[in-house]
């Protein structure tokens, strides 16, 4: 997994909390920095894809590993 600047563990949280927490964390980050989000909500896969397309923050990686979903988001 690539390097990241901050990590957000949204395990156990359901829609829309993983997105809202991610947005809040990104607000406090610099452009170009990478946020690693961990989630267990299966709906978050499509949601983070949509979040990235609509906000312009690049979704560099999206994968499942051992029942958890990992997202790498680069702040635009």
């Amino acid at each position: 997994m690539a390097d990241f600047n901050q990590e957000l563990d949204a395990s156990g949280l359901n829609c829309p909390l993983p997105i809202l927490r991610a947005k809040k964390t990104l607000n406090g980050m610099e452009a170009g920095e990478v946020l690693h989000v961990i989630a267990t909500d299966p709906g978050s896969v499509k949601d983070f894809d949509a979040f990235s397309k609509q906000t312009g923050n690049e979704l560099m990686e999206s994968k499942e590993d051992g029942g958890k979903f990992h997202f790498m988001i680069k702040k635009s």
């Binding site: 156990g12 949280l13 359901n14 829309p16 997105i19 809202l20 947005k23 267990t40 979040f51 906000t55």
Partner: protein, 159 residues
């Protein structure tokens, strides 16, 4: 790119129906939408400082019941005193177990994200409600004010 706009009318005042307006408004804000929710009739309950929202299976055959209760309790059983309180408690516990945010939390997130919350002045008067019952930051307006924003919105929802 111009900021997109979302206008919502919230008309319902039960625990289950409190979710759609606050979930959609908070998410829209995270996506960069400018958002307003216009609360009218029973939707005004969602603006109270102390939320006392309840859920009921009465008149709602689509509501899944825990432990097959619908098979053991005929619908009349649901009218017994205390039944609504019990159903509400069970629903809240279920939501907590599944990591679903509380209505209070989602409402706070909306306010943090500067979602504009507007109470319909006419229904506030109709129900003899008072602005002191509502959370801070609520604005009061009528139908014409709603259209001023909704007319320019990209998405407009009636909930």
């Amino acid at each position: 790119m111009d900021e997109k706009k979302l206008a919502i009318i919230a008309t319902k005042g039960s625990l289950d129906w409190a979710y759609p307006p606050f979930i959609l408004a908070s998410t829209a804000s995270a996506l960069g939408y400018e958002t307003q929710i216009f609360f009218t009739f029973y939707g005004l309950q969602l603006l109270k400082k102390k939320l006392e929202l309840q859920v009921t299976p009465l008149g709602n055959p689509g509501m899944p019941m825990p432990m097959g209760m619908d098979k053991w309790f005929p619908i009349l059983g649901m009218t017994l005193p205390g039944m609504q309180g019990m159903m509400t408690k069970m629903m809240k516990q279920k939501m907590k177990d599944k990591g679903v945010a509380s209505v209070e939390e989602l409402r706070e997130l909306c306010q943090e994200a500067e979602v504009k919350l507007i109470a319909c002045q006419m229904t506030v008067d109709l129900f003899d409600m008072d602005s002191s019952q509502f959370i801070d930051g609520v604005e009061y307006a009528g139908a014409a004010a709603f259209f001023e924003f909704a007319g320019e919105s990209d998405i407009c929802l009636y909930i």
